[in-house]
């Protein structure tokens, strides 16, 4: 996997460098004008976040039930990256929303679920750091519970509120927008993969360090 790193880095950098050009050239979305260009940062951030959450959940299950330490390392890396992209989404969202809906935080379904998911994974990181012995397993359980919670969150929060653009902006995009949009999504997913890999390297080094410490004793 390491040998993919350099090409991956090159491709991601290239895509991110090109993205602003594509975005600037994309047609304006009729009702919102310039600010809707935030869409190219906002939605792909959430794609990346959900993917990372999914990865974390699956790897957590594998760690908890099969005991593979690599699964735990991938899970923690994915969780950190999920929190990162979630933060991007939670900041770009209100910036967009303030302009288009008039309020910073509309308390609607999507936004609230996103916040709760973000809090769940921040809790994951906190419990790993401060949870005492056995906290990796507890964090893994939390990730699994978090994943299973999503449909319930969706149902309950949805019935509770909704003003967010309805679930699918994407197929209804005016011509000229899907191109840059999917390009951005691909760029973000590549970035996510890259960051998880980097973070994973850190975990593997730490594991090596632990092994050295154990040899000392």
């Amino acid at each position: 996997m390491k040998k993919y790193f350099i090409p991956l880095l090159a491709v991601t950098t290239a895509m991110f460098a090109y993205a602003p050009i594509m975005i600037a050239n994309a047609p304006f979305e009729a009702s919102m004008g310039l600010v809707s260009k935030i869409f190219y940062f906002h939605v792909p951030s959430w794609f990346a976040m959900f993917t990372a959450v999914f990865i974390c959940g699956i790897q957590s299950a594998m760690f908890l039930f099969k005991g593979k330490p690599t699964a735990d390392r991938i899970a923690v890396s994915a969780a950190e990256v999920a929190v990162l992209f979630g933060l991007m989404g939670l900041v770009t969202g209100p910036l967009w929303g303030r302009k288009s809906w008039g309020i910073w935080w509309p308390w609607d379904a999507r936004v609230t679920i996103a916040l709760i998911l973000e809090l769940t994974f921040i809790a994951y990181l906190l419990v790993r750091k401060f949870g005492g012995p056995g906290s990796e397993k507890l964090a893994a359980a939390l990730a699994i519970f978090g994943m299973f919670n999503v449909p319930f969150l969706y149902m309950s929060v949805n019935i509770w509120r909704t003003i967010h653009p309805k679930t699918s902006v994407v197929p209804a995009l005016p011509t000229g927008m899907p191109g840059p949009f999917w390009f951005s999504v691909a760029a973000y997913l590549l970035l996510m993969t890259l960051l998880i890999q980097l973070r994973l390297q850190l975990e593997e080094r730490r594991a090596a360090l632990d092994a050295l410490y154990l040899e000392e004793e």
Binding site: M1, F54, T92, W101, K166, L189, I196, R199, L212, E216
Partner: protein, 81 residues
């Protein structure tokens, strides 16, 4: 490994169900904000966040490497195992 990551990513991206785009509410002129600063702020934040995260990984990696080197030195000079 990379393949499985990308595969799970593909799996996670289910096509969303279909409804139309809901346009923005029209606001009174006093409430309207200039868009450009918001867009710039969003873009800047995304870049800063990504850079910050990379920096934290780099710092932590540095610390772990330093510890590894210390341990290896100790082993080298101490027991010569």
């Amino acid at each position: 490994m990379l393949k499985s990551l990308l595969f799970s990513a593909a799996l996670a991206l289910q096509p969303p169900p279909q409804t139309e785009f809901v346009p923005a509410n029209s606001l009174p002129p006093s409430e309207q904000l200039p868009s450009a600063p918001l867009l710039v702020a969003a873009y800047t934040f995304v870049w800063l966040a990504a850079m910050f995260y990379l920096w934290t990984i780099w710092k932590r990696l540095g610390k772990v490497d330093a510890d590894i080197r210390t341990l290896q030195q100790r082993r080298g000079s101490g027991g010569g195992r």
